[in-house]
Amino acid sequence: MSILSLQNVSKSFGPIQVLHNVDLALEPGEVHALIGENGAGKSTIMKILGGFLDPTDGQIVLDGQPVAFASGPDAEAQGIVVIHQEFNLASDLTVAANVFLGRELGGFRLNHAAMREQTAALLKRLNTTISPDAKIGRLSVPDRQMVEIAKALSRNARVLIMDEPSAVLTHREVGTLYEQIDRLRAEGVAILYCSHRLDEVAHLADRITVLRDGRVVRQALQGELTEDGMATAMVGRELEDFYPPKGNPAPEAALSVSGLTVPGRVHDVSLQLRKGEVLGIAGLVGSGRTELAEGLVGLRSATGEIRVNGKPVRIDSLRDAVLAGLAYLTEDRKEAGLLLEKGLRVNLTLAKLEKFGTWRIDTRAEDKALARATQDFDIRAKDSNMLAGKLSGGNQQKLLLAKTMLPEPEIIIIDEPTRGIDVGTKRQIYAFIRKLASEGRSVIVISSEMTEVIGLSDRVLVMREGRLAGEVEGDAMTEDNIVRLAMGVTSDSGKAA
């Protein structure tokens, strides 16, 4: 019998119905993957299961009894734990304090020793070296994800709902995550796993539910659906070639960098980017990819020589970089890319306001630019006055792309072009990147998604511990080769060098 299930659940926000008669059952000892494009209704389902929203119609059934959760904490008290995509961690508190937040051990005086000990045990189980006394604010993003997972484990969950847990993890950490999921499954925990990574769904899930426009369009057991089949079911049409065909870059270098060093992060990196080329940069999270890009465009202080079209340029600030024809699209869309509380127009023109008037900003010209960008980048907004934060992830990314392209840069560095974005939008963005290259611009793509780097790039540089570990091109661009370089493994024996 299933622990927790939705029976014929519908949900409407005002006049808009976002879920239509959804049936979903979570069985003990099973990983149930929930996939679908952004806006398909995944997060609504997670919120209903986690007690954060009530269904408009239909029933939630827990242990065979219909239930209505009063709140998230109420659901949690009954063993249903949600790991959110946005971390719910207090950044000034220690790891141990966060794990036990809200249910601290001890009486009037807290039992610090016990909390620290139990936290250490949990973290050890997760194979991490995070100290229970570390402040959350000092941890890397993947480490924070591991703390979130530790926190969920400490709740003795019967049902665990995970929203894209692997999105920010490195290769090694993803391995640990899978081990933990296997262990929890063996213990009889029911897991709902949301992910955009179809390879991971194929690998992990015992059961797959595919959502499209708020309806369940497909339910399958492990092995019944290929990755291709999942993508087709999600999008509702056949996906021809997912990645655009490769281009043929010109021989001359648009950008050449020699000896770029960002103190403590990037050491002596030299690279050449050809005109019309899409150059991938792969590497583990923390290998210095983002720091390299930020050093290059003046967001971090760096030393080294940079030439654009053969001419040496001096880049001390992002402004210098923009003047030299460079643009950088950040990986952190929500915190560094867009003003979520401002409208689309303000966001679009923010990096190039001087284009819209010397003294008075010409809002009509801005509106025209927005209308054009909405069309060129296929930004789907309910109305042009809405806030950027209300757009879906994919549309936010398209808006960010439009914003980055407004100064008409010749060299574009895109960090994680498709993080947390649905399949359909991914494909649009890939096609767009290729189009930029075929127009004679040059693009550097930094990505943690192996298939993306390989599918999109003409050539791939691999970084490890702040240095260039190697370069692969043509047929040598395989996942295996890249992982070897990224991990510092040299021979086929799989031993670390």
């Binding site: 967001l299 950040t330 915190e335 401002k342 990096a351 008037g357 008075r360």
Partner: protein, 323 residues
């Protein structure tokens, strides 16, 4: 085509209600003399509050403006008295005084701004420090007493506060011009857009090739300049300055900004709102003085209630917007 700004509507309704209330309670309320008086008194805080709107919108704060005004008034008076024997009892001396006030304001703003942007100290801490420093300096300059402008100069300078065009005195005119320029700058200039972007999320601003430190520094410079301007208008009113000049002006200015709908955490600036906020605060004071209903000693309490109420109402408005 354009939706009216609902954030302005609340304060505006409150202002109109106060005017109606004032008119009902005392017939002298709407007399030109009283209106001139209220507006002229609003002008000092108003001019400062327009500058404060930019500082707060960019995510900053300045607690030092009241002390700064007192200090600037002090050095202005000293400079004019010192220049009197050399230049004589004429407008040259007064222009020197005005120059000292404005330049002093810009330098004071520069000090605040550089400490905040270059030394990377919290605005609250920096301006709490300079607030004490300016206050102490003016008390020291006055040797614990009062600095007074020479009688002749005072007579000559007086019309800058009391004169004007008809019953509209110069402080009112200057305040109006500053308010219009301020609103225009916030709404239509690149600087205003950058200020809002920085207050909304300074990391996004930095990643959009905006020189965040420069813009932040400029907001403090602008505020310093406006404090200097307010001082130029204030000195002829009494012709003196002391350790108790401009006490609590910083709080009144911040309160006016908040009542007007500018978010204290930054990112959303409303210069018109600030103007309305200043007028609301002055009107409460004026009505309590004219009417015998409530003791004028309770002025602060009523202003306090209004500030808290304004923020609560705005938050509910926001919550409704987000639904």
């Amino acid at each position: 085509m354009k939706k009216p700004d609902l954030h302005l509507l609340g304060p505006l309704v409150a202002l109109i209600a106060l005017v109606v209330l004032g008119a009902l309670l005392n017939s002298a309320f709407l007399a030109p003399a009283n209106i001139t008086n209220v507006l002229a008194r609003s002008a000092f805080i108003g001019i400062i509050a327009v500058g404060m709107t930019f500082v707060i919108t960019a995510g900053g704060l300045d607690l030092s403006v009241g002390s700064m005004a007192a200090f600037l008034a002090g050095i202005t008076i000293i400079a004019m008295n010192a220049a009197l024997p050399e230049i004589g009892e004429n407008w040259g001396t007064i222009l020197i005084g005005m120059g000292v006030a404005i330049l002093g304001g810009i330098i004071a703003g520069l000090v605040n701004g550089l400490l905040i942007t270059q030394a990377r100290i919290e605005p609250f801490i920096v301006t709490l420090g300079t607030m004490g420093i300016f206050r102490s300096l003016v008390t020291w300059l006055a040797d614990g007493g009062t600095l007074s402008l020479e009688y002749g100069l005072r007579t000559l300078y007086r019309p800058v506060y009391y004169g004007g065009i008809g019953w509209i005195t110069w402080p009112i005119i200057v305040f109006a011009i500053i308010a219009v320029l301020g609103e225009w700058t916030m709404r239509h200039s690149r600087f205003g857009r950058h200020v809002e972007a920085i207050g909304s999320n300074d990391r996004v601003a930095r990643y959009s090739a905006i020189d965040v430190n420069r813009v932040k520094l400029l907001t403090y410079l602008l505020l310093g300049l406006l404090v200097g301007l307010a001082t130029v208008l204030y000195v002829p009113r009494l012709g003196s300055a002391s350790g108790s000049t401009g006490v609590l002006w910083e709080l009144e200015a911040i309160a006016a900004v908040i009542i007007g709908g500018t978010a204290l955490k930054g990112g959303r600036g409303r210069v018109w709102g600030t103007v309305i906020g200043v007028l609301i605060l002055s009107l409460i004071d004026n009505i309590l003085n004219l009417a015998d209903l409530v003791s004028p000693y309770l002025n602060g309490a009523i202003q306090g209630v209004i500030i808290v109420l304004a923020v609560v109402l705005q938050r509910e408005k926001r919550a409704a917007d987000e639904r």
